[in-house]
Symmetry: C2
Amino acid sequence: MRVRVGNKYKDYKSVWFENNIIKLIDQTKLPFKFEIVSIKNYSQLYSAIKKMVVRGAPAIGIAAAYGIAQAKNQNKNLKKVADYLKSARPTAHDLFYGIEYVISKIEEGFSGTDAAEEYALKIIAECKRIGMHGEKLIKNKYRILTHCNAGALATVDYGTALSPIRFAHYNGKKIFVYVDETRPQLQGARLTSWELYQEGIEHAVIADNAAGYFMQNKQIDIVIVGADRIAKNGDFANKIGTFEKAVIAYQYKIPFYVAAPTSTFDTKIKSGAEIVIEERNGTEISMISGKRIIPQNIKVCNPAFDITPAKYVTGYITEKGVIGWKELMR
Amino acid sequence: MRVRVGNKYKDYKSVWFENNIIKLIDQTKLPFKFEIVSIKNYSQLYSAIKKMVVRGAPAIGIAAAYGIAQAKNQNKNLKKVADYLKSARPTAHDLFYGIEYVISKIEEGFSGTDAAEEYALKIIAECKRIGMHGEKLIKNKYRILTHCNAGALATVDYGTALSPIRFAHYNGKKIFVYVDETRPQLQGARLTSWELYQEGIEHAVIADNAAGYFMQNKQIDIVIVGADRIAKNGDFANKIGTFEKAVIAYQYKIPFYVAAPTSTFDTKIKSGAEIVIEERNGTEISMISGKRIIPQNIKVCNPAFDITPAKYVTGYITEKGVIGWKELMR
């Protein structure tokens, strides 16, 4: 991804590996400070994942893959390191997958560093292809709505939902992006807006409440979001609020696309009803930027994800191409 | 409205008039501090309206009515006072109406204080009747969704959307209220939650994004919101986000009611398309509680209201009874 450093632009990944050190863009400091954190051992990595210095399931998976490679190079007990890292965020599937992938490759005799790099490159290549396929859905002068941050920060490079937007921009299309601020954690306002600004892509941050208003007023031509998990029937889990946007888009006949690599499709799950929704800490709602907005004795409900039924989805943008909902069902 | 003061409960209005002083519950300090502000002249009142110490169109109208009565008692130039107060918030219709009402009564020979009290009592009585009519729609064990603050704070007592909720509670029904936090200004999280807590009504604050999730999961039985203006065909303007909730409720066949006195019906306006939407300052989104969450160079769009088409409304709860949409059209 493009990042402005002083008066110049530099190409960055949100996670990379250099001289046995894991480098992370500190996502807790954005958008106000661009800082690179150097992770020298697995306990530093554990803490970085836990505190969301690195966030986004694919980015966490890659950081953990590098963590195993680093531990191997430091002659650490890999079993112990793996168990510890897995406990940092127990719900992110990629975290487990990235760790297991590198360990199995090491057991097969490969270098841990090579295995982790291979893992990272595979995901980056998939995101790039998602961008190249999805870009075709975006016409010149399109106004696009996105929710949360399914960007390069979350996937190391390009992003999922943001990848087609990047490629449309690279290909000279004039586009405008409406960015849902995405309460409670404000990933849209803080991270998606930062990424778009760095790329020079025109956009505006809006309250989540206003997305429907812009759809109703014909100011949005297409909606593109990411996904945390897609069931066999096409129902998908994504950041809370995605479902509301999908229903409004459906009512107003606005194309609604889900951008995700095919690895996000979980064919073991028949429908969205089988996906368990994580209830996160209420302080994400009752406190903003460390400041309390709701008194401590007031009850808060904070489901972190919702399930959007497949009928609201126009298509899935994957690394293999754009798949329609009916195609998926075959 | 009931307010806990120390270990006791006291009955309060959000605005009242006492020995020629206008008393206001300071809504900028809630929910953390319960403070009464004493307004001794019209320039203090202007500033209180402008800084939203008093907010909610009916409450502003009543405060301004008392302002004219006070100015009359202080032998001020009423024309000058009226023009100045009207400029505090140029969009709220009630502000103009409250001022003109008292001035015309004074010209007819009535006392300003009597006229202002009469004006306030009329609105309070309407809100009470809205509560008594609307209460019948709320069954025992109902879980109710509301948006923004259409409560006693906004209308001096009872509220519009919150009045049926209060009366259901007074009548011993066991209810639970989901309160949309209502970004950008958080009137739900700060004010509605405060009112419900004072009354001892069980509730939880949720991110606006989560309302759809709870509707989809059959955790909401009825939606009740207020309205800023209702067109002849039943389309209505209300706080941004209302429209999204109405569309989801419609999809999931959840009754969706608008609570407002008949004076909110603007028969001069044929449909919602004629209502101009106020675009408010972007800092309402880019700053929360005085802390910046989005850098200054990032564009923000901040429509303050949206229009919900009449087809999504099950009925209108007015002081005259509950009117169905089809009845309204006759």
